[in-house]
């Protein structure tokens, strides 16, 4: 009898739950697009066999809580395919309901009248937590997506200081060879010489890849040493703004790089190697010097540890071109993408609701579900990427680094929770010898990159140089910037690889100005004066 009643009860519940979604009337689908990610394959799907891009803990949560079905209009195998698919979709006027785009693309979408004014939805639906997070990133992120007073995007807020470049060196080699921290480019060369001798056949002095301005294995670190800031809009001595790729300092940088290439410090094929290939030298103990951002420890350097547990990398401040000069890393607005909603989308509020949910699960201190929805640990990392939208916080990582510094020494996590607790546990395990978690400790722990970034902000000998332009893309930019940048990059690569003499730089800068660079510079200066 009792059993029976239970059966009836469960039956009713099943029936109810079957009816529920219909009753809720909230049930609808929202479309996205995404790019496949090899680290997701290895860190997530190889462990969670029953989850996929289209069906996973986040999509199930979203369905359950918000009644939203997540759909992918397409999944691209790589970035180029993503761009191609996206632009074809723009031309066809059929972009996904929610898109994540950079500044130039956002302008194109606004001009194409494909996205909606998101401001009213944000005001109505955003949770306090979400509002706080967006506000904490500052006005600039919102300004960069506001066209004629209408806000078309929600910034993917991120941390500016984290764009600063760091020099990563093989510490175990430094110790073994008795080398000291480099101050100048000359010191760095001496280190490269010593490392290359040690690494033997096939050694590479400094790892570079074809993404010249990426986050790691790029040329920004060495450029900063010479006071050059490629792709930034930098303030000149006369108060005007100039494009960093065209300043005389850039020429010095290229001279140095060409010399490095000429003398065998760089991989002869660096300009066609993507990150994965370029990282091989780092992973296989063939290279011990690389410039990169704070998270370089997680990729590619963690792979180096996986291959050789004896390896150890440490972050160092950037070098300078002259003895005794100030260290001058460049930083730009880290927020480089914005979420926008298609004008075809029937429920623009979905974006805000999704972001609310994300903040709740990942950042809310009281719920503490970080380990379920963000980083479960034990080799299973970054499941937050399964969520179609995500956010960062401008100072989250520095807070974490500061908060766990003391507990790491004492071994007592105390009141830590959420992400901070996870990071503490990772770093602690790494300290205790778990090399598979080494990367986390090198970001958050002692001698980690976050501590170094805190140093950048406090050290009197360091002067951060900002990218001064954070407005919406100007007219000429949206028309010509890509083409003009390609023109410069090509010339730079040819100069570095010795195919053309250094003086080609002056020629290409001249043609850059005449092909639209002058207009762009004028527009930027006009904007700058108005600020």
């Amino acid at each position: 009898m009792k059993k029976n009643r239970l059966a009836i009860l469960t039956g009713a519940m099943v029936a109810l739950s079957a009816v529920m979604p219909v009753m809720a009337e909230e049930n609808y689908s929202v479309s996205f697009s995404r790019t496949q990610d090899s680290t997701m394959e290895s860190d997530i799907f190889s462990i969670l066999k029953d989850e996929s891009y289209e069906d996973n803990r986040w999509t199930r949560l979203i369905k359950e809580r918000l009644g939203i079905d997540i759909e992918y209009l397409w999944i691209a195998p790589n970035a180029e395919q993503q761009t191609q698919k996206f632009n074809a979709a723009v031309a066809a006027g059929t972009i996904p309901d929610i898109v994540s785009v950079d500044k130039l693309t956002l302008k194109n979408l606004v001009e194409a009248e494909l996205v909606v004014d998101i401001q009213p939805y944000f005001e109505e639906y955003a949770s306090d937590l979400l509002k706080d997070m967006i506000a904490s990133a500052g006005e600039q992120c919102v300004q960069a997506c506001t066209f004629d007073g209408v806000q078309y995007g929600i910034p993917y807020v991120d941390c500016d200081i984290e764009t600063a470049q760091i020099l990563w060196l093989r510490q175990d080699w430094m110790d073994e060879l008795g080398l000291a921290a480099p101050k100048t480019v000359g010191d760095l060369r001496a280190i490269m010489d010593a490392f290359m001798e040690k690494a033997g056949d096939g050694a590479v002095g400094m790892a570079l890849c074809n993404d010249l301005y990426g986050t790691v294995m790029d040329i920004k670190g060495i450029a900063n040493a010479y006071g050059a800031y490629p792709r930034y809009w930098v303030k000149q001595e006369d108060g005007t703004i100039a494009y960093g790729s065209t300043t005389p300092e850039m020429k010095d940088t290229l001279a140095e790089l060409a010399d490095l290439y000429q003398n065998g410090y760089l991989d002869t094929e660096f300009h066609v190697n993507d990150g994965t290939r370029a990282a091989e030298a780092l992973i296989n103990d063939k290279c011990g010097v690389v410039f990169g951002w704070h998270a370089s420890a997680l990729w590619p350097l963690q792979d180096s540890l996986n291959q050789n547990p004896e390896a150890d990398w440490r972050p160092y401040q950037l070098v300078t071109s002259e003895e005794g000069a100030k260290v001058t890393p460049g930083i730009n607005m880290m927020t480089s993408s914005w979420y926008a909603v298609s004008s075809e989308c029937e429920h623009p509020e979905a974006l805000i609701e999704l972001l609310n949910l994300y903040c709740e699960k990942v950042f809310d201190p009281e719920l503490n579900e970080y380990s379920t929805y963000a980083n479960p640990g034990d080799g299973l990392e970054g499941v937050w990427r399964l969520c179609p939208v995500s956010l960062n916080s401008p100072d989250k990582n520095q807070q974490t680094a500061k908060a766990i510094a003391e507990p790491l020494k004492t071994g007592d996590p105390g009141e830590l929770y959420g992400e901070q607790l996870s990071m503490y546990e990772y770093s602690k395990a790494a300290q205790d010898g778990d090399t598979t978690l080494w990367g986390w400790n090198r970001v958050f722990g002692e001698n980690g990159s976050q501590q170094l970034l805190i140093g950048y902000q406090n050290d009197e000998n360091v002067e951060l140089v900002r990218d001064e332009f954070y407005g919406v893309a100007t007219e000429t930019m949206s028309m010509r910037k890509t083409t003009l940048d390609t023109m410069l990059d090509e010339a730079f690569i040819k100069i570095i690889t010795g195919q053309t003499p250094l003086d080609e730089f002056d020629t290409v800068v001249e043609s850059w100005y005449s092909a639209g660079g002058q207009d762009m510079t004028d527009e930027v200066n006009e904007w700058y004066q108005a600020q």
Binding site: E80, T83, Q84, N87, A88, V90, A91, A92, G93, T105, N108, E111, A112, E113, L114, G202, N210, D267, T268, E269, H271, V272, S343, M479, T482, T483, T486, M487, D489, E490, I493, K494, T497, Q499, S511, A515
Partner: protein, 311 residues
């Protein structure tokens, strides 16, 4: 009287129509497919003359801007370079694509052993049937300056490694050489067939006159295939703006845009990577128009000098 003539005529037309009806029916499926999949998209060429705003739709109320897209594209620094590269690469491909097969056909024609001849033919035709995706992969590997077979050979002989696919000094040459490599065997087929068609009595007569093989080749074989050579030359004119998208796209990179960027790759990047739909369409249209001119001229010449009618 007139009525009767009309009736006869209409009867005649009817009969004729009845006779032709099956022919029309045969064409119908193909015609429908071509109308849908070729002619409907061709309507999209109008955006070459518009400031194209996607949300308004392809045939929506777009702003007409005349030839502005064209003048914009022609002002881009990359365009004239791509045009020149295209013509340069295409020119050398056409030239060697004519010469090498002829020489090869002549050599093969001198061969006595049937089986050997057959084997050589089977092997050299093979690359023609492989896609540039596969060959691109193979050549990337073989030509790599670090670890590629060719460069190992060069270093073993005491040379310096050459970055064939990443160095502007070598890129065009590499494209031309690999293209000729892929196509020469197949290109020789028509010449071989023409040589087979030469009357053997001509050779016998020449031999009686005391001509050696070399003289026979010069005085009998070459004149025998002259028309074909003229024809192939003329027809290849239509390709001056086709430098080979499949090949270049699968083998180039940013560092060789200077010598390797061609119109087709330029259009691809402009349209699909930079999202400049109007200008990209304008370049495509420009290429079609110029190509059509060249093809028309070449067919006219072929008709005039070789009495060749394509259809």
């Amino acid at each position: 009287m007139a009525k009767q003539a009309k009736r006869v005529k209409s009867k005649y037309t009817k009969a004729r129509f009845k006779r032709e009806l099956p022919l029309h029916l045969m064409i119908l499926p193909g015609l429908i497919l071509v109308l849908i999949f070729s002619y409907v998209p061709m309507g999209g060429l109008i955006i070459a003359f518009q400031k194209f705003i996607p949300s308004k739709g392809m045939f929506g109320d777009q702003k007409w801007i005349g030839l502005k897209n064209f003048s914009y594209v022609f002002s881009l620094p990359g365009f004239s370079r791509a045009l020149i590269n295209t013509i340069e690469i295409a020119f050398w491909k056409i030239l060697f694509g004519l010469l090498v097969p002829i020489v090869f056909a002549l050599l093969l024609n001198e061969l006595r052993g049937r089986k050997f001849k057959k084997a050589v033919q089977t092997i050299v035709y093979l690359p023609y049937f492989m896609s540039w995706v596969v060959l691109g992969g193979i050549f990337h590997d073989m030509l790599s300056p670090s670890g590629g077979v060719i460069n190992q050979l060069i270093t073993a002989l005491g040379g310096k490694p050459v970055f064939f696919l990443g160095d502007n000094r070598y890129f065009q040459g590499t494209m031309i050489a690999t293209d000729v490599w892929k196509n020469f065997g197949y290109g020789a087929i028509v010449y071989l067939a023409a040589m087979l068609g030469i009357d053997t009595q001509l050779y016998e007569a020449a031999e009686i006159d005391g001509a050696n093989r070399w003289q026979q080749t010069w005085h009998v074989t070459l004149p025998g295939i002259k028309m074909i050579v003229v024809l192939m030359t003329v027809l290849s004119l239509g390709n001056v703006l086709n430098a080979g998208f499949d090949q270049i796209f699968n083998m180039y990179s940013t560092s060789v845009y200077e010598t390797g960027d061609i119109i087709d790759t330029f259009v691809y990047r402009l349209g699909l990577l930079d999202a400049q739909y109007g200008p990209a369409t304008a370049v495509g249209l420009f290429k079609s128009v110029v190509s059509t001119l060249f093809i028309s001229v070449s067919y006219f010449l072929a008709y005039k000098f070789a009495d060749y009618r394509i259809f």
